[in-house]
């Protein structure tokens, strides 16, 4: 019970922080759909010019659905834990966080859920509604599977970012590495173009990596490309990857935390 109260307290605190940034939310809510307009015309012209109804498994409405839902998924899996860690380590501010009753990783993970819940209300739902009205995306019953898949996708991306963040134990500034992490994970996760556009050999390789389970798989689950059984299997794979990354975290944290002195640089 006590643990539960700790967690809800943390979530509340982060919700309050997120609301103070509502102006940013409103601006992005207004600006991001403009990018969708670009994707709409881009693919409309590509489909027309190619004279075909299906490209790499996507119809034109399916492709637009992909980009609309990518916008939601991309926002929901967005993590900044590595930049926070890097700042805290550099400025010696991690000490006070380490003294908290909850361990550092769950403290950050649970806190982030507060921010994410705000984003679902102010961002994800409005974008999906915009998508249904303006871009005529189809939302089927399979959208229910989207919730657990999305939760695991977030934890997966969080773990990758957390492991990146631990590099700050060895290096003073890691903003470059964080940016590389964002771009490469995003590209391999299908944030820019569906993975079915990649060469076959690359897709095979990609199925042995965790990245497609962060965006490509959740997007396609939302669009109803998987049945219940397949979704169950995907959840298991996501869980397995989370466990693997958790193992890596345990080892690296043990070595890294010994290097942390609490002195700012």
């Amino acid at each position: 019970m006590n643990r539960f109260r700790q967690a809800t307290g943390l979530i509340n605190m982060n919700i309050k922080q997120a609301i103070t940034w509502r102006f940013n939310f409103l601006t992005s809510l207004f600006l991001y759909p403009i990018t969708l307009v670009m994707y709409y015309f881009l693919w409309k012209s590509i489909f027309a010019y190619s004279g075909t109804d299906i490209i790499k498994g996507y119809t034109f409405p399916g492709m637009i659905g992909y980009y609309v839902i990518q916008m939601v998924v991309g926002m929901l899996v967005w993590v900044e834990v590595d930049s926070h860690m890097s700042n805290q380590i550099r400025k010696g501010k991690m000490t006070q966080k380490l003294l908290r009753p909850l361990a550092y990783l769950p403290h950050n993970l649970i806190g982030a859920i507060g921010i994410k819940s705000i984003e679902v209300v102010f961002y994800a739902i409005p974008v999906i509604i915009l998508g249904i009205f303006f871009f005529k995306i189809q939302v089927g019953i399979s959208a229910i599977y989207f919730i657990p898949i999305m939760l695991f996708a977030y934890i997966l991306n969080f773990m990758i970012a957390f492991i990146t963040g631990m590099l700050a134990f060895w290096m003073t500034k890691i903003s470059g590495i964080i940016s590389i992490r964002r771009t490469i994970v995003g590209f391999l996760a299908g944030a820019f173009i569906p993975l079915s556009f990649f060469p076959q050999s690359f897709q095979t390789m990609s199925s042995y990596l965790p990245f497609q389970y962060i965006q490509y798989v959740p997007i396609n689950v939302f669009l109803g490309k998987y049945g219940a059984l397949a979704v169950g299997k995907l959840l298991l794979i996501q869980a397995a990857w989370i466990l693997v990354l958790y193992g890596i975290y345990k080892i690296v944290w043990k070595i890294g935390i010994n290097r942390y002195t609490g002195v700012s640089q």
């Binding site: 670009m38 010019y49 590495i177 590389i180 771009t183 556009f197």
Partner: protein, 264 residues
């Protein structure tokens, strides 16, 4: 006038040396940020490669021409990142701290002074990536004709447009004090012109050429060099860019008069 320009150059050089020494304090970080920018810049050409590998691509543009387009975009936005864009966030920083007054008391052009504080060396990497991609496409497409002259002119216009946008954002910082989110305007504009204008209908094409002439930063130089647009139209496109730039300067001067140095 010449004396003033020489002075601007001098101040700019001093600012540059200061920024550079700050960067060199974290050399490893500088290196990784460069790699990060290169990776980021290569996403556009890579996505293009995947699109052209799976379809007929963008109407009227083959893959090499699309690479030329991408090179122009990466170069211009890289130049903006390195030397132009900083003006909007430097202004914002100065205002938030209530420090713009210090700049105002200096016996010199305020904008030039702010520019001298706003260089971001990392952007030079992007300028180079853009140059390499452009050069590759130009050589492969044998585009060594007379079109290179209007191309150069349009590239200058592109930088004037990007300067205009940054000055407007700087002016907005003076009015609204906090404009963090407004910075994303530049990324949204970049997204809108990230593919050749030919994908749009007449309405959006007109808007992005004559109302907010963002397409000058990507489409027009590449289209003219690749011989896809007549020169007469290309010259016409310069007019809205010049108007836009002048408008930004007027707005800047007007808002500066309203500045109250409250901080925020």
């Amino acid at each position: 006038m010449i004396k003033e320009i020489a002075k601007t150059w001098d101040i700019w050089k001093k600012g540059l040396a200061l920024d550079m020494s700050a960067e060199m304090a974290y050399r490893a970080s500088f290196f990784f940020i460069m790699i990060a920018l290169i990776t980021n810049d290569l996403i556009g050409p890579l996505v293009g490669y995947l699109i052209y590998g799976s379809s007929n691509g963008i109407p009227g543009w083959n893959f090499l021409e699309f690479l030329l387009f991408q090179g122009v975009m990466i170069f211009n936005f890289g130049f903006w990142h390195a030397f132009i864009g900083g003006v909007s966030w430097t202004t914002q920083e100065l205002i938030n701290e209530g420090e713009l007054d210090i700049v105002l008391t200096k016996p010199f052009y305020i904008l030039a002074n702010i520019y001298s504080r706003s260089t971001d060396f990392h952007g030079i990497t992007e300028v180079l990536v853009g140059l390499i991609i452009m050069a590759y496409a130009i050589v492969k497409l044998h585009l060594f004709g007379m079109n290179l002259i209007p191309f150069a002119l349009l590239m200058v216009m592109a930088l004037l447009f990007l300067m205009g946008i940054s000055i407007i954002l700087g002016a907005m910082a003076i009015i609204f004090v906090k404009v963090g989110a407004l910075q994303s305007i530049i990324w949204t504009l970049n997204d809108l012109v990230a593919y050749p204008l030919t994908i749009y209908g007449t309405g959006i094409r007109f808007f992005l050429t004559f109302i907010i002439p963002a397409s000058i930063a990507t489409y027009w130089p590449a289209a003219v060099l690749a011989g896809k647009e007549p020169l007469s139209v290309a010259f016409m496109v310069c007019i809205p860019v010049l108007i836009f730039f002048l408008f930004s300067l007027v707005l800047w001067n007007l808002t500066l008069k309203k500045y109250q140095s409250a901080g925020g």
